[in-house]
């Protein structure tokens, strides 16, 4: 039953305490309906080996898939507050508590220091499991700190976006995080350090309209929904159905909005390659040898 739920939601839903343990079980892919052995799924970066569906990932699993080894975690000390005494169908503190219990983190963001194929990086990963990855004051603050600290340390920033947008429960304070994060990223620009964003399913609203899309290089995951206005709102505006593939990563590539779509299983090597180039770092020894022997074979004198 837990597995059914897992697939129905199109993302791994597990006990946060045991998030890194994968049950020894089979499941059915919601897209291709093939049976997948869950440990194979985990070993393959949670991409369906049959159809390539990129399952949604919580922040911890994302960090595992992206980085060489466990992060030196920075986030966790900044906690949200209910500055506006927001109450709709439940109170904001109740909502927060539920999300905190579910994910084991104070808000929808994980930041820290790590490495990708040997390249030292600062990573910031949004957690869609936490209240739809919505951006409030804590998400904004942690991203701003990660950017500033990366700049101080001379490290590049890799940010993984997954968010429904700004967090309604903090109203204008959430809105201001769009400005705050954008401005904090200037610290990286000022030092000529790369900032790469990885847009995953889904990335919409205020996140798309701020830090996620001003990266030096924008990578998207295959099939990810990425946009500013949500599809339902647009449909209400234009009063006709939206075209097939609208706001998907492939659509955005075609419209010039993302630099590349990279299969999750290829992301570590592609990001490392790109970061090394932008930071004038040498090719790792093993790869350099392969490359030089290839180059030699093509450098025939005229």
């Amino acid at each position: 039953m837990a597995l059914d739920k897992f697939f129905r939601r199109r993302r791994p839903q597990v006990n946060p305490v045991a998030e890194t343990e994968t049950p020894d079980l089979w499941g059915k892919c919601p897209q291709c309906k093939e049976n997948v052995y869950l440990r194979d799924l985990a070993a393959g970066a949670y991409v369906c080996p049959s159809c390539g569906l990129h399952h949604r990932l919580g922040a911890s699993r994302r960090a595992e898939v992206l980085c060489d080894s466990p992060l030196e975690q920075w986030s966790g000390r900044v906690h949200p507050v209910d500055a506006l005494k927001f109450h709709d169908t439940e109170s904001y503190p109740e909502r927060l508590k539920r999300a905190q219990l579910k994910t084991g983190r104070p808000d929808a963001i994980l930041t820290g220091r790590g490495s990708i194929e040997g390249v030292d990086v600062v990573v910031a990963i949004m957690d869609f499991e936490f209240s739809g990855g919505s951006m409030g004051s804590v998400v904004g603050e942690e991203i701003a700190r990660a950017a500033e600290r990366a700049a101080q340390m001379g490290l590049p920033l890799v940010l993984v976006a997954a968010s429904g947008g700004a967090r309604m429960q903090e109203s204008a304070l959430s809105l201001m995080q769009m400005a705050k994060t954008t401005i904090a990223l200037e610290a990286l620009s000022a030092r000529g350090l790369p900032y790469i964003s990885v847009l995953t399913d889904p990335t919409t609203g205020g996140v798309t309209a701020s830090f996620a899309t001003i990266a030096d290089v924008i990578v998207a995951e295959p099939g990810a929904l990425i946009g500013f206005a949500g599809p339902r709102v647009i449909q209400q505006t234009i009063r006709q159905s939206l075209p097939e593939g609208f706001q998907r990563a492939e659509f955005l590539l075609e419209h010039g909005m993302v630099d590349m779509i990279v299969d999750r299983r290829q992301q570590r090597s592609d990001l490392a390659k790109l970061l090394r180039l932008l930071m004038h770092q040498p090719v790792p020894v093993a790869q350099a040898q392969a490359a030089s022997s290839q180059a030699a074979s093509t450098q025939v004198a005229p």
Binding site: P80, L175, I234
Partner: protein, 317 residues
């Protein structure tokens, strides 16, 4: 009328209608009705001073027919406005316009969200909701502002960026993000004023001010009351409740530290005396421009960054 309850905005509107009717009768009949009109007018004025507007009533005032649009202020407060057009890439957005002008004598670069004044004009301007071209034009105007050392004055009045299919195709989110980034990089002072509606990222795109001001009956929020109501209660008719929850009025924003100052409106709203509303807006913007004028480009840049860097509410363990 003898009830001790505080008057609502609705009461005021009813009284206003009575007065208009009586004035009409006086005019058409040639009868002098001042004996009745005077006390009515006095009572209205008295009630206006007492009225306590709900958040939703303020949202309605921010949208009321006849509320001055950006250009109505510009006509009263500037001379030599030269509207510049186009993003040099795709089109010329009519919902976000701008160009150099003299703001009460001072050369500035204007960025204006313009809703439109008659039906045709409103449609042409998408009721003040920009396509990406609007933000890209704003970026181009900010480039000019930097080059020619013109302070930027931005008048914000939009329900949000236009949620259209083509807007998404041409990168609405990207354009807003780039506009925020460009504005944060300006080496000239920026003064922004929310004059009506401040809807979400579409408003913030030109809201990176060294000073951010708001008119008394304007609102500024991450989402419109209707949008929030749709999400929370699946019912946009619950917008009044959402408006309360969102704390989107000028006093709320002042308390949160999101704006520096509330610009008072004429009793009953800016639409009742546009000249007076313009005078208050002009004075406030000019005063902030003058104050900022003593700083250096580095101070404008770092002051703006520091202003936004500290916004947010959280605790630290």
């Amino acid at each position: 009328m003898s009830s001790p309850t505080r008057p609502t905005a609705e009461t005021l509107r009813t009284l206003e209608a009575h007065i208009r009717d009586l004035e009409g009768t006086a005019l058409s009949s040639g009868q002098n009705l001042d004996a009745a009109l005077s006390p009515l007018r006095e009572q209205l004025e008295r009630l206006r001073g007492q009225v306590s507007l709900s958040r939703w009533e303020r949202v309605q005032l921010a949208r009321i027919a006849g509320r001055p649009t950006a250009l109505e202020y510009v006509e009263r407060l500037t001379s030599e406005f030269v509207e510049l057009h186009g993003d040099r890439t795709f089109g010329d957005d009519q919902a976000l316009i701008g160009g150099p002008a003299r703001w009460q004598g001072r050369p500035v670069m204007l960025l204006l969200q313009q809703k439109g004044r008659d039906t045709k004009d409103k449609i042409r301007r998408r009721f003040g909701s920009s396509n990406p071209e609007g933000y890209r034009k704003a970026i181009r105007l900010m480039d000019l502002a930097d080059k020619f050392r013109l302070p930027v004055v931005a008048l914000i009045d939009t329900q949000g960026a236009y949620p259209g299919l083509e807007a998404e195709e041409r990168g609405q989110g990207w354009a807003i993000a780039q506009s925020i980034q460009r504005m944060s990089r300006l080496r000239v002072p920026t003064v922004c004023a929310v004059i009506g509606e401040g809807g979400s990222g579409g408003a913030l795109a030109i809201g990176i001010g060294n000073r951010v001001l708001i008119m008394e009956n304007a609102w500024y929020s991450v989402i419109s009351p209707e949008g929030a109501a749709s999400i929370i209660w699946k019912d946009s008719a619950k917008a009044p409740e959402a408006a309360e929850a969102l704390k989107l009025t000028a006093p709320d924003l002042l308390e949160m530290g999101i704006v520096e100052e509330i610009i008072p409106e004429p009793t009953g709203g800016a639409h009742l005396d546009i000249d007076a509303a313009a005078a208050a807006l002009g004075e406030a913007v000019s005063r902030h421009l003058d104050e900022l004028g003593t700083q250096s480009p580095d101070e404008w840049l770092s002051g703006r960054a520091a202003r936004f860097r500290k916004l947010g509410a959280f605790t630290e363990s």
